[in-house]
């Protein structure tokens, strides 16, 4: 508390207004520029909902059909806008239902503030109706959390919550507010938080580390860049492009780095990781300098660490010091915000082209194209492939759509084949792998970018985990385009069972309902495609629709996603089939 007061000295004195805690929460949200929140009411948060009713001209609340949907919608909104997403729920089950989305936002560094109601202070610890220790439960999966029990705490804690959620490496913050603090009155003054003693969101870059990195890059014969979401979160897309072009370095993205660079940029060599592209995975183990930018060497990226880029000097541009040397030992760590550090290194780099080295990527890409990609996106076999659906969406959208995916085979195919021309256009649950993420995240993404097409690519499994959010799409006429790639299986698990469990398909076969009828029940325009001849026209019809649209594509039931780095294998053991 004292820590914040210190920073407040300089700010202008505002006139205090006497209001309830519940109204104060609304004023805090408005002061933070929030105009859209997702949530679900209940007993312990009712005073705040009563104020939401009064302030509905300034602050839109979207009633999701489940609290998990509220978190994913807030995530989708945050990922597409770069702003803080807000989700609200009541105590007890309302709060615990937020946990999956909070954990997802934590591992994928998404700025989000969750507000939960809590039983009144005098009942804390009495096992009261709908009491749960959400601060305890959410501690390991939040960047910060706090329980407000006194009305006077509201402005400072809310300001701190937003500051912490969006600053440095972003993340989710949960604020739990007891009911008495919502009812009680305070003299309300709001001042934005600009610093917290003990919290250093962005480390200061050391000039010597930037010089060392520049020397390594300048002397490299086979430099290779792998970039992640840090580029997007740090808004360093232009700096990355400038660096790649000046130093002539092939660059690959991680799954969360997708769209930070144009897909068609000649130096974009695709995606690293378990189902990434052949060339960047193989050549990770042949480069002489590996330049990691805003990525965290997730195990799905590195495969076996013992055989990961051992021949290379490694440079790590990273905002979070705890990520440095966590998984991969690095030779040079450049701490700081990517925009700042990339800008700083740019003048120190020699202008270069690495034509021969780049040609190795092209050669390997051709191998992947001939053995795999061609058959995925222009198949000649009878059954429809997921890849050709994504390709049709690329064509119909002019590569301009925001692509939201769920988790599984369709996600890997979407991330492999969707093409991007604009940053913040790929929204997927990368770290946590949360099935059910796609549909609600697409709602949030669309509401955050009404001028853009938002296409949700979802499997038949994940779709049914949050299918109830069709209610939001219907009620608010949110014009998202929903594509369910239906193979009547939990496809990715089935693929693993086929490859590693002797085809014992334990609980991966799905008997599915009539998805078109379900969408029709919500009065959403819908169509089913099971013949190749209808696909292009159906996708065009979907993209042309001004209203929400549901498209089910019956795809081949037992297709596998390749390439694949088997779990625990080396990146250079990537299998093309």
């Amino acid at each position: 508390m004292e820590t914040l007061k210190a920073q407040k000295k300089d700010s202008k004195k505002q006139k205090a207004i006497r209001i309830t805690g519940a109204e104060a929460i609304i004023h805090c949200l408005l002061a933070e520029g929030v105009d859209l929140i997702y949530g679900y009411p209940g007993g312990a948060i009712m005073p705040v909902y009563d104020e939401l009713y009064k302030f509905q001209d300034k602050l839109t609340h979207i009633l999701t059909r489940h609290e998990q949907g509220a978190t994913h919608a807030a995530q989708g909104y945050a990922r597409v806008t770069g702003r803080v997403g807000v989700a609200m729920a009541t105590s007890g089950p309302g709060a615990t239902n937020l946990v999956t989305g909070i954990a997802d936002a934590q591992i994928d560094s998404t700025p989000m503030v969750c507000i939960t109601g809590q039983v009144t202070r005098s009942l804390l610890g009495s096992d009261a109706f709908q009491e749960t220790d959400i601060v305890g439960i959410s501690t390991p999966v939040t960047k910060w959390n706090y329980q407000i029990t006194k009305v006077e705490e509201i402005p400072e804690i809310m300001a701190k919550a937003f500051y912490i959620a969006r600053s440095g490496r972003p993340g989710p913050v949960l604020v739990d507010i007891t009911k008495n603090a919502q009812f009680d009155e305070l003299d309300f003054v709001y001042e934005k938080c600009t610093a917290v003693r003990s919290y250093k969101p962005v480390p200061k870059p050391e000039p010597s580390s930037i010089e060392k990195a520049a020397e390594l890059i300048n002397s490299a014969k086979k430099p290779f860049i792998v970039f992640g979401q840090g580029v997007i979160l740090g808004e360093a897309e232009a700096e990355l492009k400038a660096l790649v072009e000046k130093a002539g370095i092939p660059a690959a993205w991680t799954i969360l780095g997708l769209s930070a660079m144009d897909t068609d940029h000649p130096l974009n060599v695709g995606m690293v990781g378990m189902h990434g592209n052949y060339a960047p995975n193989m050549l990770t183990n042949e480069c002489d300098v590996l330049i990691a930018i805003g990525m965290r060497f997730d195990d799905r990226v590195t495969g076996n660490l013992e055989t990961y880029a051992k021949q290379a000097k490694v440079i790590h541009f990273e905002i979070d010091p705890a990520e440095v040397n966590k998984n991969v030992k690095v030779d040079v760590a450049v701490l700081g915000n990517a925009k700042e550090t990339l800008n700083a290194i740019l003048p120190l780099l020699d202008k270069k082209e690495h034509k021969e080295w780049k040609a190795e990527f092209d050669k390997m890409h051709q191998i992947e194209y001939d053995t795999l990609i061609k058959n995925d996106i222009h198949p000649t076999k009878e059954g429809l492939t997921m890849g050709e659906v994504i390709e049709q969406i690329n064509v119909a959208s002019g590569q301009k759509a925001v692509i939201v995916s769920d988790v599984g085979q369709h996600q890997m195919i979407a991330c492999r084949y969707a093409k991007f021309k604009q940053s913040k256009s790929n929204i997927t649950s990368g770290g946590l792998g949360t099935m059910g993420f796609g549909l609600p995240a697409a709602i949030g993404a669309k509401m955050g970018a009404m001028d853009r097409e938002v296409v949700a690519i979802i499997g038949d499994g994940g779709y049914q985990m949050t299918i109830q959010e069709l209610g939001v799409i219907f009620q608010h006429n949110v014009p998202v385009k929903i594509v369910v790639l239906n193979n009547d299986h939990l496809g990715m698990v089935r693929q693993w069972q086929e490859l590693f469990f002797d085809r014992r398909y334990a609980s991966t076969v799905m008997t599915n309902p009539d998805f078109v009828k379900i969408a029709e029940g919500y009065h959403i325009k819908s169509r089913r495609v099971s013949e190749r001849g209808d696909l292009q026209e159906a996708v065009q019809e979907m993209m042309a629709s001004k209203d929400p649209y549901f498209l089910e594509v019956k795809v081949e039931k037992e297709d596998n996603v390749f390439p694949m780095i088997p779990s625990g294998a080396s990146v250079s053991d990537i299998r093309l089939k």
Binding site: V135, T139, A195, P321, A322
Partner: protein, 175 residues
């Protein structure tokens, strides 16, 4: 990498829930906390956690990184035993009649440099401060005569090298 004893010193704001947050970092990695002490520090308003673990330096460094990442943590350090001055405290509750019936007990008290904190008709209490092995030796010596209650504190340490928290706080203030 070889496992050994590390003492982690954490300077932090005094915040409800921070202990939970810090212990969760160990829990998530399945690493046991061998001893834990929380107290005030040399700086007013700043708390100090002293945590002892038996693990590799690599894990210790990663844990310290994760601890430091917590919003209310000002700075965390880790040190080996050689780099610190450390002590633990123990209390023993023993039946009073043993003091007269078992002459050897008086010798144990003298040899171990323990203090008698209180004596009454039923029991007396001994306090011993020292290294873990010294407390263990005293415990083992008293055990055959019967110990009514025993408790040992977490390790507390000061480090040989400086931990410049005031400077770090100053830096936070300036940024």
């Amino acid at each position: 990498m070889e496992k050994q004893w590390y003492t982690i010193s954490v300077y932090s704001e005094n915040h409800v829930g921070l202990l939970n947050r810090i212990s969760g970092i160990f829990l998530k990695r399945h690493i046991n906390i061998e001893s834990l002490n929380v107290s005030k520090s040399e700086i007013e308003g700043v708390s100090k956690f002293t945590i002892v673990v038996f693990t590799t330096e690599d894990w210790t460094r990663k844990i310290v990184g994760q601890i430091e990442k917590q919003i209310e943590v000002i700075k965390a350090y880790y040190h080996t035993d050689d780099e610190t001055i450390y002590q633990e405290s123990a209390l023993f509750k023993i039946a009073s009649h043993l003091l007269f019936d078992e002459r050897q007990i008086q010798n144990i008290i003298k040899e171990s440099n323990a203090q008698i904190v209180t004596v009454n008709r039923e029991f007396f209490a001994l306090a011993k401060t020292g290294r873990r092995h010294e407390i263990d030796e005293m415990h083992d010596a008293l055990l055959p005569y019967g110990i009514m209650q025993f408790v040992r504190s977490g390790r507390i340490t000061v480090t040989k090298a400086a931990m410049p928290i005031s400077e770090i706080l100053q830096e936070f203030q300036e940024n």
